[in-house]
């Protein structure tokens, strides 16, 4: 026991010597950054990266609110950046002054949640739509509308999976019905509930995990999915088609930010700047299957990514992107009520 403790202490002592550049504690979504990229950063800068992971914006928020320190860089999504700024959890480090910030393309250089980019830098962005296996739907093609998902053809009964997420489902239904996603009107919420209730018997399940594998194994025909996951689905299921619904679809983006009280702030800024270099962010895109907002990165991206309309969105579809809003507690209470009634 004692010997092990000594060995550990020696290891710590040595790690301090080897990594003269110090350390960086990155808190990211699980399976969302290639470890090789972190090693490359270590080689380039001498800064050792420690990675810890979480599974939702809400658990990240809960952890920071509970007073977690020890993280230097976190990766909140759009609406969560706004909440964290409002809660005073983020350090105002003026990301816009970093040398590589010039590489950030519109619209993510001035997003609604951080218009001056004082707190955050873009990582990946994506959209939430749905994927179907064109080999197994009647006629081989479905209309590019949320109708195909919420009211699928009868042949697809029990072959459709929805994401098990209150926000994803509520927003998708609100787009389909052209209702404000932050509605505080119970009558409109009732309409959304009716649509979800009508869809429920057609569904095999609600599940946000394993979307790629489930489609590839042909366990189901249609899956509510993110475009990057759709790209990875296609690697094995060539007949998969990702739909950009014409009514609009949730457009999200994840961001690097530095929480207040970070111990290695300089290294954090170094990392964020380094990640805004095209050759580095491209490696992340190649791994995740999601696009980024850095000019010139497509040169370094895999051909399969560049040629896939699910990742490299055709210009005509970009007008269908709808950013997530931050809703009032009243609107959120209504969402919760719809979700509870849907699953009571």
């Amino acid at each position: 026991m004692k010997r092990r403790a000594i060995a550990l202490m020696t290891a710590f002592a040595f790690s301090g010597v080897v990594h003269a550049g110090g350390e960086l504690n990155l808190y990211n979504w699980s399976d969302y950054i290639p470890l090789d990229l972190l090693k490359k950063f270590e080689k380039d800068t001498g800064v050792k990266v420690n990675l810890d992971v979480y599974d939702s914006n809400e658990s990240l928020l809960a952890k920071l609110k509970a007073g977690a320190t020890g993280y230097d860089v976190i990766v909140p999504s759009d609406y969560m950046v706004k909440i964290m700024v409002a809660e005073g959890l983020l350090d105002k480090v003026e990301i816009n002054k970093l040398p590589n910030f010039k590489n950030v393309t519109a619209p993510l250089n001035k997003p609604f949640f951080d218009p001056t980019r004082s707190y955050s830098a873009p990582y990946m962005w994506g959209v939430t739509g749905f994927t179907y296996d064109s080999a197994r739907v009647p006629g081989g093609k479905l209309p590019d509308s949320w109708k195909s998902f919420f009211e699928p053809p009868a042949e697809l009964k029990g072959q459709v999976v929805a994401l098990n997420d209150m926000n994803d489902m509520f927003v998708a239904a609100s787009l389909y019905l052209k209702i404000d996603q932050c509605t505080e009107d119970p009558k409109q919420a009732q309409k959304i509930l009716d649509t979800l209730m009508k869809q429920k018997p057609m569904l095999a399940m609600y599940n946000s995990d394993g979307t790629i594998e489930r489609m590839q194994a042909k366990e189901v025909i249609m899956h509510h999915q993110w475009n990057g996951a759709a790209h990875r689905t296609k690697e094995k299921l060539k007949t998969a088609v990702f739909v950009y619904p014409k009514e609009g679809m949730p457009f999200w983006n994840d961001n690097f930010a530095i929480p207040k009280g970070a111990k290695n702030k300089d290294n954090a800024l170094k990392f964020i700047n380094w990640m805004m270099a095209p050759e580095n962010i491209a490696i992340a895109s190649n791994f995740t299957g999601y696009n980024n907002a850095i000019k010139g990165s497509d040169k370094f991206m895999d051909e399969s990514l560049r040629s896939d309309p699910a990742v490299n969105t055709p210009a005509a579809f970009k007008s269908r992107f709808v950013p997530n809003k931050v809703c009032s507690p009243k609107a959120l209470a209504l969402r919760d009520k719809v979700w509870t009634k849907l699953k009571k």
């Binding site: 809400e58 209150m166 959120l332 699953k343 009571k344």
Partner: protein, 295 residues
């Protein structure tokens, strides 16, 4: 020399401190939180008290701000109790004969059986639940087996139904039923059963009047050990049930997560705690007087 009272205090201190730090403190915090107003972005507003969370459990505000009865949450509680109760009953029906069978073996065989029963614990429950998904899915091993013996004609269609959840719960909690019952049967004096036969009891009477009462402490302990965690089970219904209906655990998790209503989550936890406590107290009162109870 320490006086007797000082020594008593010193000896009691670890227990009292443990109970305070690990039970009173967190539960007090939870109770306090359930009477606060929710914060706009999660968390609570300290100092803003309200009983809204408890009212929300039973009522909702309609369009004219009138309170009307809302059975959604009670319904979710009921379903969880039905499922957990069903799982308890099923584990008892399977577990009791199993424990009795093991208890009647010689010592070497007994140890082997107990080892076999505890082997599943070597693997994480989450992994085992995923294994069940592979077994139960259409085209999976269960379907192949059942169709080979002619019980199933077409697809099994059992995964993502309440049946799959029930199977998962019974499977996960069965050892918690077998082990306490086995423990109480193992230390039983079998001469009492022989005596019962000598006094003219038939097999059923000996079982009902002698074995069952003596096994009762184990049965009660087993039921508690199955019912309570089954009530709070979270990922088994989520994975095997396909997330189509909420259980208490999922409901509470949602309040601390996406719905950002921590006080309501705390109130739901407290409601669950209260129901469990009442059940346990009732059990205790009932079985204190039972002939088989320890004293």
């Amino acid at each position: 020399m320490l006086s007797a009272s000082v020594r008593r205090t010193g000896l009691l201190a670890p227990t009292v401190i443990t109970l305070f730090v690990f039970m009173v403190l967190p539960m007090g915090l939870m109770a306090w939180m359930s009477f606060l107003e929710p914060g706009t972005y999660g968390g609570v507003q300290w100092g803003h008290y309200s009983a809204k969370s408890y009212i929300q459990f039973l009522y909702e505000w309609d369009l004219d701000d009138q309170l009307v009865l809302n059975t959604d949450y009670v319904g979710i509680f009921l379903r969880s109790f039905l499922l957990a109760g069903g799982a308890t009953l099923a584990t008892l029906l399977i577990g009791f004969p199993t424990a009795l069978y093991i208890a009647l073996k010689d010592e070497k065989a007994r140890n082997r059986w107990i080892l076999l029963i505890s082997i599943p614990f070597w693997t994480n429950l989450l992994v085992r639940t995923f294994a069940w998904m592979l077994l139960l899915r259409n085209g999976g091993l269960a379907e192949q087996f059942l169709s080979s013996i002619g019980l199933v004609k077409e697809e099994l269609n059992i995964l993502y139904t309440p049946t799959a959840v029930a199977i998962g719960l019974v499977y996960s909690f069965l050892p918690f039923m077998i082990l306490p019952i086995y423990t109480s049967l193992e230390k039983m004096d079998w001469k009492l059963v022989e005596a019962a036969f000598d006094l003219g009891a038939n097999r059923w009477m000996a079982f009902r009047r002698v074995i069952l009462p003596l096994a009762m402490p184990g049965i009660v302990a087993g039921c508690m050990l199955v019912l309570i965690p089954a009530l709070g089970s979270y990922f088994i219904p989520e994975l095997l049930g396909g997330g189509k209906s909420l259980m208490i655990g999922n409901l509470i998790q949602n309040q601390f997560g996406a719905s950002r209503n921590w006080p309501f989550g705390a109130a739901l936890s407290f409601a669950l705690l209260t129901v469990v406590m009442v059940t346990m107290i009732a059990y205790n009162l009932r079985f204190k007087r039972a002939p088989g109870a320890d004293k």
